[in-house]
């Protein structure tokens, strides 16, 4: 077994440090060592997107990233989207448009949509559908998720 390694990165703006084996996946470090259980595990094979986090301003599937790759990185998870007690427009919109049912895909889905709207603040329905196609939802049929992303985009644009 390879020796454990110290890794430091910023998690939702706060510096953290973990000591992990080189084989440890980021999703496990976040969930087991750093008590961030927002990102979930749905497949561990990069297909479902339940584990999606924001890594250096990119959406990544945390089940397919090794923690040791994250030295110096800035990571945002669902837990980091609420700012100063105010929900992010996407969180609010998912609630208002009934964009979630069991809630298992929701953290990954919102975190992905967060990056999508940064990349494309005014997406078409098709842009949204392909933009979230790496995130599976078994409950909603996506229609209300698309609506939620559209409505959040509008609110964010209005807020400048």
């Amino acid at each position: 077994m390879a020796t454990a390694k110290k890794v430091s990165f910023k998690l939702n703006g706060k510096p953290v440090e973990v000591t992990v084996e080189p084989r440890e996946l980021l999703i496990h470090s976040l969930r087991e060592r750093l008590a961030h259980t927002g990102p979930h595990i749905g497949c561990e094979t990069s297909h479902c997107g339940a584990c999606t986090v924001d890594l250096n301003e990119m959406s990544v599937k945390a089940c397919t990233v090794l923690t040791v790759q994250c030295e110096g990185a800035e990571i945002t998870t669902i837990e980091g989207l609420e700012q100063g007690g105010a929900l992010h427009a996407l969180q609010q919109a998912f609630h208002e448009e009934h964009g979630l049912q069991c809630g298992y895909c929701t953290p990954g889905m919102i975190t992905r949509a967060y990056r999508l709207l940064k990349e494309n603040p005014n997406p078409s329905e098709q842009d949204i559908r392909s933009g979230i196609s790496g995130n599976l939802c078994r409950c909603t049929g996506y229609q209300n998720i698309v609506k939620a992303v559209q409505s959040a985009a509008k609110k964010l644009a209005a807020a400048g």
Partner: protein
């Protein structure tokens, strides 16, 4: 303020039934603060990884644990021999059979549970699992259920080889499980003999998996000093599970607590008790520390809770006008290696006998033969009541087959055979009493909304045009569902009747706690039950807290599956609220010094008839109920509990229409339009209902267009990761158009029926009917699901329509 405006304001404040109240449960989920099974961490907890069989059928000649035990972090390795002393190496199943918890001398399906490695964390546990050495002697496997009962077929279950029956009547072969029949065979046969027209078609509901986004798992924690067992578990039916655990372990049921927590989708996958749960529990009892077991996705698709695998034959007899005179449906059911099908005791083939659908069919006979194969057991109902999708698929497809044979329009064949609105309650020839329905108006509303005649004209033009790059198909499905089991006189599981329960407690200032025996997996119970109470009791939904899924807190109930929650628990909730309301009325009469007969209810208060200024609001009564100012002899408090045993199941229905365009050259099927009209009686929260319909249609789309669990001839799984198993993304998923009619359920206190499974049950045949309709003018009467591009292209190629 005018009086009506004032009434409306009071009503709006309640956010009761009929309003699209936003969901109470969302607050934690949108913040990533749900508490799902893998989020639970207990001090000293070990992680269990299961060692699984690479073979579909093999003898186990030996298991060597030494290398695994030497692996850093590994604490123990459990095999069947370790479970024997506590007699838990086998367990009873919901199908009346027994199932190996850990393989006992042989394995009967690939990925069967052989051992569990306990270690300090999941990495160490999987390291250990890879080091357990099992010596197998491979045996020939049976994969095709049609070969199961061949005279020379290898015997899959030697443990019950000599048993004359396994729960459900005589067996005719060691690989035979049961034969179940319904209806009058002689009458049906006679109808076929004299019929002007008969049609017959074979059709498969392939083996699929519900595949919720969260896999199954548990954390079992046995407290040695008190003998108290706590199990956090992904279970749709915590109370039933607790009963099963008590039966299995011998621990008093009062010392077992099952906690459902938040569940990341179920769709039937989380009803049964799986070996992983049982081993984790035994492991906790043996080691004295909590044990976590979480399935990987591959484990989930390969071993827990598959659905369908019904190889059906449909036959209809009719007169030349298309009026059906007889129905004979049969199915060969592949149950895998153990009969763990979820079924009510008296219904080994579930509610398959709903297969007469929405039609008045005078003579019918249905039969299901179930056999063992070397595949995983499970047999859950994937977003439907037990075996209902299988039944409705057959009838809805056969209606099209019959229409085709007669040259009749597919809407017209349905019109001619519908049970008419004036015939309800209608008892079918297979024995179900359909409670209420209005099938003709539902279909007409849909046909009008989509411009049906125009669509058929467009289709005719496309068919006449050899240059058209696409084939156009129109699918119709006019289904009737059967949901909400009980009644207890008909339905039980392991002897426990399928009633359900609600306990309501009201606090002095009007806050309400309601506790139920059901278990939400995303259906929004915390919101909809609160709305029922809000309307019944005139207290705002915002102040009503709903709790379920913790067996220590909630009264006994059979859980959430088969769309039971609204039909059974929704009724229990209304009845419990009404008990409280009765008492509140007595208190109001006492306070107002009138008799109860002088009072009338208005939104949130009792008022004196003819003297509306004299009134007591429910809020006021809540406080008074906790004082001494009560009618003589009345106890304090406003609490009630109801156990509701429904008089009948409920029969929601719908009319769906789907338009597809099939690319002749690639076989790709594009869903142009899908229009779904559902009738579930009273609509408690329209937003939640619509969300359920979207989700159910999407799962129907998945099944019809891509899901299938394939095996090779040796029983090897050929697709058990999300790489191979089709879960639609937002890109493939069609846009859904929804609509509704309201036909009240006559026997439900709120007039409501279940709804969340209708779109799955009704959607699958609608997609199939659309795809097959695209080929109907070319003489095609049936194509089996899934209608993936490859399979549809093969059809195009066989017919030569892809020649330029």
């Amino acid at each position: 303020m005018s009086q009506t405006a004032e009434l409306k304001e009071r009503e709006d404040k309640l956010q009761g039934m009929g309003t699209s109240l936003l969901r109470k449960e969302d607050a934690k989920f949108i913040r990533g603060q749900g508490s799902y099974i893998d989020d639970i961490k207990l001090p000293g907890m070990l992680f269990g990884a299961v060692v699984r069989s690479p073979y579909a059928h093999a003898r186990i000649k030996g298991i060597d644990k030494a290398k695994a035990l030497a692996c850093p972090g590994v604490v123990a390795v459990l095999t069947a021999d370790d479970l024997k002393p506590v007699n838990l190496h086998w367990m009873p199943t919901l199908g009346g059979d027994v199932q190996a918890v850990l393989a006992d001398k042989k394995v009967c399906f690939q990925y069967q549970e052989v051992a569990m490695v306990l270690a300090s964390d999941r990495y160490a546990a999987y390291d250990g699992a890879a080091l357990v050495e099992v010596d197998y002697e491979e045996l020939p496997a049976i994969v095709d259920p049609k070969k199961s009962m061949a005279p020379d077929a290898p015997i899959i279950r030697e443990d019950i080889q000599d048993k004359k029956e396994v729960g459900h009547g005589p067996r005719t072969h060691p690989n035979h499980i049961f034969t179940w029949e319904a209806g009058d065979k002689a009458a049906a046969d006679a109808a076929f003999k004299t019929a002007e027209i008969t049609v017959r078609e074979e059709m498969l509901n392939p083996r699929v998996h519900p595949c919720p986004l969260e896999t199954c798992g548990c954390v079992a924690s046995f407290d040695k000093p008190t003998g108290y067992l706590t199990v956090y578990m992904t279970s749709q039916a915590p109370h039933l599970v607790r009963t099963v655990l008590a039966m299995l372990s011998g621990i008093a049921e009062s010392k077992i607590r099952v906690i459902g927590g938040d569940i990341g989708g179920g769709f039937g996958n989380k009803v049964p008790v799986y070996p992983g749960y049982v081993v984790a529990i035994v492991a906790s009892i043996v080691t004295g520390v909590p044990i976590k077991w979480i399935e990987s996705r591959i484990d989930n698709i390969s071993t827990t809770g598959f659905a369908r695998d019904y190889h059906g034959v449909g036959e209809l007899a009719a007169d030349k006008d298309g009026r059906i005179k007889g129905l004979r449906f049969s199915a060969l059911a592949d149950h895998g290696a153990f009969n763990s099908h979820v079924s009510a005791t008296k219904f080994p083939a579930g509610l398959f006998s709903i297969c007469t659908g929405s039609y008045a069919i005078p003579n019918a006979y249905a039969r299901v033969d179930a056999v063992y194969t070397n595949k995983a057991p499970g047999g859950v109902a994937y977003r439907c009541s037990l075996r209902v999708t299988e039944a409705i698929y057959l009838i809805e497809r056969m209606m099209d087959v019959l229409a085709l044979k007669l040259g009749l329009d597919k809407a017209e064949i349905r019109r001619r055979n519908f049970v008419r609105s004036d015939q309800f309650p209608y008892t079918t020839s297979l024995g179900w009493t359909l409670d209420s329905g209005a099938y003709h108006p539902a279909l007409e509303k849909v046909l009008k909304a989509v411009g049906y005649e125009g669509l058929r004209k467009e289709q005719a033009a496309k068919r006449a045009d050899p240059k058209s790059p696409t084939l156009m198909g129109i699918g119709i499905s006019t289904f009737t569902e059967i949901v909400g089991a009980g009644p207890t006189k008909v339905c039980d599981i392991l002897g426990v009747g399928l009633f359900d329960s609600c306990e309501i407690r009201i606090h002095p200032t009007g806050g309400v706690i309601a506790r139920l025996g059901t278990m939400s997996q995303g259906q929004g119970h915390a919101t909809t039950y609160a709305q029922i109470i809000a309307t019944e009791l005139g207290l705002p939904a915002a102040d009503i807290v709903v709790e379920e899924g913790d067996t220590d807190k909630s009264p006994y109930g059979a859980g959430t599956w088969g769309s039971r929650s609204t039909p059974v628990s929704g009724a229990a909730t209304a009845m419990a609220a009404r008990k409280i309301k009765d008492k509140a009325k007595k208190i109001a009469a006492h306070l107002l010094e009138v008799s109860e007969g002088d009072l009338e209810w208005e939104i949130d208060r009792f008022k004196v008839k003819g003297n509306p200024s004299q009134a007591k609001t429910m809020k006021e009564i809540c406080m008074v109920a906790h004082t001494g100012n009560l009618p003589a002899g009345m106890e304090q408090g406003l609490n009630a509990v109801t156990y509701y045993d429904p008089p009948n199941l409920t029969f929601p229905f719908g009319a769906y229409l789907c338009v597809v365009d099939v690319d002749k050259f690639t076989g790709e099927v594009k869903v142009r339009r899908f229009y779904a009209l559902d009738d579930c009686g009273t609509r408690i929260n329209p937003m939640v209902i619509e969300g359920q319909i979207h989700g159910g249609l999407t799962e129907a789309f998945a099944v019809a267009m891509g899901q299938q669990i394939p095996f090779d001839e040796n029983g090897n799984h050929l697709g058990n990761s999300l790489m191979d198993y089709f879960l639609p993304t937002a890109v493939e998923t069609p846009k859904w158009e929804t609509d509704h009619t309201v036909t009240l359920c006559p026997h439900h206190p709120l007039g409501a029926k279940g709804v969340a499974e209708s779109p799955h049950v009704g959607g699958i045949p609608c997609f199939s009917n659309a795809v097959i309709d695209a080929f109907a003018h070319l003489g095609v009467t049936h194509m089996d699901m899934p209608h993936s591009a490859w399979r549809v292209w093969q059809q195009c190629n066989t017919l030569g329509v892809n020649k330029r």
